[in-house]
């Protein structure tokens, strides 16, 4: 297992390097140049030259690349052009909010989506199957801001169960923190519920018609054991795939949720950076996202090793 982990890490390194290079290139092929993009067409030549100097854009390309790489690899993403604080400081300040939102919506997705999918497969075309279809249709077709606003109106404004704005609750107040997390997590979790219901339902239908399930029944195993131990265990494989794939989507989708609920997070940071043309911040965020995706893929591979014995973990 340790060797497997090391191998996966080694494989992840070139991916990360490639992504970093891509970020570097992307930022530099912006029409005009970053300094021009940042300051706009009203800027004086002196101001442009001064900014280019500050960003190191007057250096030869290879030197810029070397500087970028060594900075990034030591965790230095430069300073925000707007606030002049280190990019890393701003990112680290909101990262816990994004992580807690992602994890909470993932938990909601698993806790509701998986049993609903199993239940739906059991009563094919029955009541549960209908519930599952409606839920997954709703989760996939409602834009996050529509469902978010509906939830706010119902649960925060009408019933007043949850705060309308969840900005800036400190980590030291867990109860308030959970209350402010509930609606955004539910909103984002609905998408995960939808995906997981679908994949679990179709996976269960397939697994339950497999020969090995017939074998388990021929052994006289009770229905619950046949469903969970023999059928469901095999569905864990596609479930892990879907979680791995959509965790990335989830992080992207969190932008809308964070705006609707006025929550701090990476998504809001990106929007702010885009609005204010904070190019160092954007560059830093792209790297962070790439890093998160690589970590998610690594965790997915590890999970495969756990749920599928055919995956070689040695």
């Amino acid at each position: 297992m340790i060797a497997y982990l090391a191998k996966r890490l080694l494989l992840a390194a070139p991916t990360l390097l490639a992504v970093l290079t891509l970020v570097f290139v992307l930022v530099r092929i912006v029409p005009g140049d970053p300094a021009f993009v940042i300051l706009g067409d009203q800027a004086t030549p002196q101001a442009l030259a001064e900014l280019r100097g500050r960003l190191g854009l007057d250096q030869p390309l290879w030197r810029q690349y070397a500087a970028f790489m060594s900075d990034v690899l030591t965790g230095d993403f430069g300073r925000s052009l707007v606030t002049n604080r280190p990019v890393m400081t701003d990112v680290l300040a909101v990262l816990p909010y994004t992580i807690e939102l992602t994890i909470a919506s993932l938990i909601i997705g698993v806790v509701f989506g998986v049993p609903l999918g199993v239940w739906a497969a059991r009563s094919r075309d029955g009541f549960a199957d209908w519930v599952a279809r409606i839920v997954s249709l709703a989760g996939l077709s409602f834009p996050a801001f529509v469902s978010g606003i509906m939830m706010l109106i119902a649960f925060a404004i009408h019933f007043r169960w949850f705060p309308v704005i969840s900005k800036g609750v400190p980590l030291t107040d867990p109860v308030e923190r959970l209350r402010s997390l509930a609606l955004p997590a539910l909103n984002l979790g609905l998408i995960m519920v939808a995906y997981l219901t679908r994949v679990t339902r179709s996976g269960m239908l397939k697994a339950m018609s497999e020969d090995y399930v017939r074998t388990a029944r021929a052994k006289g195993m009770p229905t619950t054991i046949v469903i969970w131990r023999h059928g469901f265990r095999n569905v864990l494989i596609p479930i892990v795939t879907v979680i791995g794939l959509y965790l990335g989507v989830l992080i992207g989708n969190s932008v809308l949720t964070e705006i609707v609920f006025n929550r701090p997070g990476l998504g809001k940071l990106i929007i702010g950076a885009l609005e204010k043309r904070d190019y160092t911040m954007l560059q830093g965020l792209m790297v962070i996202y790439a890093f998160i995706i690589v970590v998610v893929n690594l965790l997915t591979d590890l999970a495969y090793g756990l749920v599928d014995p055919r995956v070689k973990t040695t």
Binding site: G220, M221, T223, D308
Partner: protein, 326 residues
């Protein structure tokens, strides 16, 4: 001592396009302890369906037992609720399936898959069941059994997987074993080994085996009695010796004639002309009549399964050959 398995008037219906049709009609037989009864017939004649019905494994909503009585080791299972059936399946009766490559669960160790029914039916602890699983793996001659308990099915060859299937089916020492084409998926040498193994288990444990096969050679060497099915009907049954010496039903004769033999040139190979009618356009009366060379007017009514006068244990469902025999 009662029969290991007794089946009376078993009729299985399938729902096809919303209409229930009888896919297996009025099948009766007894399987004694230690006996092998072979069930033969061409593809689609209802062999597996008969087996699944006996196991109580018909897919709900698609298949049902519409008439008949099934008694397994003295317990009538026809009409039992699923929860009651589960207590019999895997305990008094076991089954080996046609597809060794897909019949084992890919995410569970073979040791556990063998041990599972012992935990379920015999209340063994995990450790005891594991120990017993190792013994069973040795019994079915899987080399290095102790090391392979924790292996997964994909680490086994087809022949080894079929041995695991056998070990799993006989774990609780059932009285009846249904082997549905246990060797079709295997190569010839492995086939012989697996059949040998079944034979010796049977002698040691007094197991009654219902052996479903396409291979008449296997019938001749492994079974004591044989039952021929055609279109869901049993058309002939008898002792293996009498059957091969003097097959009575025209379908059995055609089947034997189509069998390749070493003592005859292959040019003689005569496949049966025509095809099995689908359930929807099965003819009234004898189901073989559309392909039968001996067909006459009386075949329009369903012929009874008639014992021969000179050998009452030999039965044929054919008015023409039953008459010719007496």
């Amino acid at each position: 001592m009662s029969a290991a398995l007794s089946v009376e008037g078993l009729t299985t219906s399938l729902r096809i396009d919303g209409v229930w049709r009888d896919a297996v009609r009025d099948v009766s037989f007894e399987l004694a302890r230690g006996e092998t009864l072979a069930l033969v017939g061409e593809s689609g004649c209802g062999k597996s369906l008969t087996a699944m019905t006996v196991m109580g494994l018909l897919p709900a909503g698609v298949g049902r037992l519409s008439a008949g009585r099934i008694v397994i080791d003295g317990v009538e299972t026809s009409g039992l609720a699923e929860a009651q059936l589960e207590k019999v399946r895997g305990d008094a009766i076991g089954m080996i399936f046609q597809e060794p490559m897909t019949s084992l669960n890919p995410v569970l160790t073979v040791g556990f898959q063998i041990a599972e029914s012992l935990i379920q039916h015999r209340g063994l602890s995990r450790r005891q069941a594991r120990e017993r699983a190792r013994e069973l793996m040795e019994l079915v001659r899987i080399p290095a059994a102790a090391q392979r308990l924790d292996s997964y099915p994909h680490q086994f060859s087809g022949g080894m997987r079929q041995r695991v299937m056998i070990a799993l089916a006989i774990a609780c020492e059932p009285k009846v074993l249904i082997a549905d084409e246990p060797t079709t998926a295997l190569d010839v040498t492995v086939q012989a080994q697996v059949l040998d193994l079944l034979g010796s288990l049977q002698r040691d444990k007094g197991l009654g085996v219902l052996l479903i096969t396409h291979n008449l050679g296997v019938v001749a060497t492994n079974a004591q009695r044989v039952m021929v099915m055609y279109g869901g009907d049993v058309v002939e049954s008898g002792e293996v010796g009498a059957f091969f010496a003097n097959p009575r039903h025209p379908y059995s004769r055609a089947l034997l004639a189509a069998m390749p033999r070493v003592d005859r040139p292959t040019a003689d190979l005569s496949p049966i002309p025509g095809q099995v009618p689908t359930l929807a356009d099965m003819p009234e009366g004898c189901r073989f009549q559309s392909r039968c060379p001996l067909r006459e007017e009386a075949c329009a009514r369903r012929p009874p399964l008639t014992p021969l006068r000179d050998d009452p244990r030999h039965l044929t469902r054919c008015v023409v050959t039953a008459r010719e025999a007496s």
